[in-house]
Symmetry: C2
Subunit: 198 residues, 2 copies
């Protein structure tokens, strides 16, 4: 029996091919022709799923965010705030090959978003939801009186958000200097300082 691959699955296969080209050759290497080749598909078939290059890029960027969200939805929260915060942050960082691929292509897309309006919108939207997620963590800690007394929830949220993204960028750009164990240790070090028993 022939393998049945539906429309959505085919789009994901093409987006994954785009990710591979981006990781190997940079985003400037991505053309619909190049991605079709990488996916072992004809250009005509690719056009059936993505009419323009811009559409392919936007879908491929969106897929990074969707994959992370899908994993977060499946997490086993246990109500211990430190545990629950840790397992969410782990999904955002390049701690294994899958998350490393996501972080690399996300960074490339974010930079391209500076000159591409469709990608820019998605980049801003994801920045906003990440801020909201970090804000919920901090608010929960404040509510449970698990933070130092003098913290400012908004500044603390922006500090955690920037620290996590800064570590992601360092690990993507300079893995020889900062590997995945190391960036995770620094997150732990930071959480040790914002989650206290008082």
């Amino acid at each position: 029996m022939p393998k049945i691959v539906n429309h959505d699955q085919r789009r994901e296969l093409l987006a994954e091919a785009a990710w591979r080209v981006i990781r190997r050759e940079g985003l400037e290497g991505v053309s619909v022709r190049r991605v079709a080749e990488e996916a072992g598909m004809s250009l005509g078939s690719l056009r059936h799923y993505f009419v323009t290059q811009s559409e392919l890029l936007a879908f491929s960027m969106q897929m990074v965010s969707d994959r992370v969200n899908q994993r977060i939805m499946k997490l086993a929260f246990n109500g211990n705030p430190r545990h629950d915060i840790e397992i969410v942050i782990r999904e955002l960082m390049p701690l294994d090959e899958e998350r490393r691929a996501e972080a690399e292509v996300w960074l490339a897309f974010s930079v391209r978003a500076q000159v591409d309006a469709a990608l820019k919108e998605l980049s801003q939207e994801v920045h906003g939801s990440l801020y909201d997620g970090f804000r919920k963590m901090i608010d929960m800690l404040v509510k449970m009186k698990l933070t130092p007394e003098d913290i400012d929830a908004e500044q603390e949220t922006k500090r955690l958000h920037a620290l996590v993204d800064g570590l992601v960028v360092h690990c993507v750009l300079n893995p020889e200097r900062l590997d995945s164990d190391e960036i995770w240790r620094i997150v732990m070090y930071h959480l040790d300082r914002i989650i206290v028993n008082r």
Copy 2:
């Protein structure tokens, strides 16, 4: 009298033209032809200063780092550790138009460095000297007993380095969410927490 522009100045003018093209069109828009056009120079004249595109890119990336270093060399340190740390960090962040241009093109070059060996070397070198600079700040604070007792100098350095770069990236990619005043407030908030009188 004709204006005398020497060889080095001409190279800097071309690199500045490359920066403008990168900021407007992304790094994928940069070709020697495009940069010559932007600088109002013929392609033949440009070739007199840069034989290959790769050479032009490497010089343009190096110039970001050189400009930052030149400003840091001229800073008026006064021996007050908090003041001296602040004025160095200010030079690394997009707090005005000049530093914003540097941060934008540096980020684009860093991502391209993933697939360009010459840029990669420079990216690693600069990451290393920034780490060393942040390490000196932390070591000075420890020596002067101005840090909380339980700090780990290496983790603290990597945390500060990642926080600063994370804020730079946020401000470059999402200036609508995090403007220059805001990123500076978060640096101050962090310094308030690692520099204490005990």
